[in-house]
Amino acid sequence: MKKTRATKWVWLTGMVVMIGIVMAPLFMMVKYSISDRSSVVTGGAVIPLWPYHPTLEQFRALAAMDRFAEAALTSLEIALLSVVISLIIGTPAAYALVRHRFPGALVLATFLISVRFFPDIVSVIPIVETFTTVGLVNSVAGVAMAHSLLSIPYVIFIAMGVFEAIPRDLDEQAQVLGASKAYSFIRVILPVALPGLAAASIYVFLLSWDEFIFAYFLLIFGDLSTLPVLLQKILSWTPQHNLLAAISVMLSIPVILFTFIVQKYMQTGATAGAIK
């Protein structure tokens, strides 16, 4: 369709506004993280749009801060553990759902995937109560298990797409050549599916990395913290804004980085079930 001059201007204005709104908070995050004290605590004067003396001192402070290192490590452990759990449980299920069209497979797939629509804020209290009785509160394993509950549906969804893209001939060929179903799944299909599954695992990692609700409820009364929980805990001490921003940057960097690596899969994950 031909564009008139007017629509072009409307489009350009919209674009500038949209990008401005999207970028402003990100810019502010970076700005605050490299701000020196005088640019944050201004005593009533205007806060500058760019720090008077840009500095990395907040990051140095974080590097020296035991709680930050501990929280980062805990976040990492929980995220990796939830990747392992959800991949081990979700991948074979996805394979079965794609390759063995037994009666009810579609219903089962829909059920398993739609578990992700269950509101986390509703499930968090019963999970914390249950985990308290079995001693999983305030533990890496407990949070990882809760996160897996969120991520297994994603793994199943993404892995189903990956397996669907692998021709059935490959499974059948392996079987005709003498492989059992398990052997052909592990030795033939999984290696071929690896790139797609890697994307799924990055997605699951990020899901756990920035998850707040379960981590907060499960860890609040203990000494463990993930990075998001640490951020919230620090907030209650009314700290300097530049420290908050520095932690935010550290928390966001892996997410932004990985998102661009697996953008394609992120989008399918984010819009999972939306577009068929």
Binding site: M1, W11, G14, M18, I19, V22, M23, P25, L26, M28, M29, Y32, G44, V46, I47, I88, I89, A93, A96, H100, F102, L108, F111, L112, V115, P119, D120, I121, V122, V124, I125, P126, I127, E129, T130, S148, L149, P153, F185, W209, D210, F212, I220, P228, L231, Q232, A245, S248, L251, S252, V255, I256, T259, F260, Q263, Q267, A270, T271, A274, I275
Partner: protein, 299 residues
């Protein structure tokens, strides 16, 4: 029976590798539903627990804090859902046509999705600070690049229920915009250009083309956005938790009931009410859309 046995044997491998996922998800779901219902229906009497009991719901009904939270949540969702839809549509229309640098712009517009929600909330916490804070600096005309004094005094964003929830909503919409955008974009790209051009040759104006062709064809994508986003808004926790602590929604009231009131039973009752609201609203939206589509297709 024999048939069933044969079916199991034939699909033994599939059943074997499906079982862990099924047990994990269905098991958790069952525990959650059982536990939340049990807690919500339990009364902590002086001589031990009484079950079943409606006391938690009765107490909540008489609690002004709960009633306010319920009203806030309804407003939050009612305003937020269309807002999410419109930002998504706007963003999608910005990038649907081919132009130079479209890939990069698209990636930039997806960025909010890549920022952890808690980080976005914290940044908004900083920006909407009182009395300092960038936003207050701007609206009181203290920055040279925006020399208009909208207000003579700074706003206490977190000290007012209205503003606190607006800021939370801004954060929520900001972060979710890419998801809505991507869904609408997929819907837009599925629309055949020829249809629009055919309509143009038949004399339809741009507005008519949008109303008569683009919008109805976009209906499934819009429906998806509305359903998914409204669920998200009902249960939104992080933004109101960080930015509107004194003005709880149902979700943040659950946290307060659990941690401050030390009352898991009432917390569960609120959770159950929230769950019912979500289900009800989803069903309602679903049927409204179905009804609307029937109307739209009429000649």
């Amino acid at each position: 029976m024999h048939y069933l046995f044969q079916g199991i044997r034939k699909n033994l491998f599939a059943i074997l590798i499906l079982t862990p996922a099924f047990l994990y998800l269905a098991g958790f779901l069952l525990i959650i539903l059982f536990k939340v219902t049990a807690l919500a229906l339990t009364e902590a009497g002086p001589e031990g627990a009484i079950f079943p009991s409606a006391v938690n719901f009765i107490t909540l009904a008489g609690n002004p804090e709960f009633r306010e939270a319920l009203i806030r949540t309804v407003w939050f969702t009612l305003i937020g859902t269309p807002l999410e839809l419109f930002t998504g549509i706007a963003a999608a229309f910005l990038v649907v046509e081919e132009f130079r640098g479209r890939g990069i712009i698209r990636s930039v517009l997806v960025l909010p999705l890549a920022v952890p929600a808690i980080v976005t909330a914290i940044i908004l916490y900083i920006l909407f600070d009182y009395p300092g804070g960038h936003i207050n600096d701007i609206i009181t005309g203290r920055h040279s690049f925006f020399p208009f004094q909208v207000l003579s005094y700074p706003i206490n964003w977190r000290g007012s229920g209205f503003f606190a929830l607006m800021v939370s909503l801004f954060g929520k919409v900001w972060r979710d915009m890419p998801i809505s955008m991507l869904i609408i974009l997929a819907g837009l790209q599925a629309i055949n250009r020829d249809q629009l051009e055919a309509a143009a040759t038949l004399g339809a104006t741009a507005l008519q083309r949008f109303m008569r062709i683009t919008l109805p064809l976009l209906a499934p994508a819009i429906a998806t956005v509305l359903v998914l986003r409204s669920i998200e808004l009902w249960k939104e926790f992080i933004f109101p938790f960080i930015l509107a602590g004194s003005y709880p929604l149902l979700s943040t009231l659950i946290e307060r009931a659990y941690h401050e009131w030390r009352n898991p039973r009432e917390a569960s009752a609120i959770a159950l009410i929230l769950l019912l609201l979500i289900i009800l609203s989803t069903v309602l939206i679903f049927y409204t859309l179905k009804w609307l589509r029937k109307r739209l297709v009429r000649i």
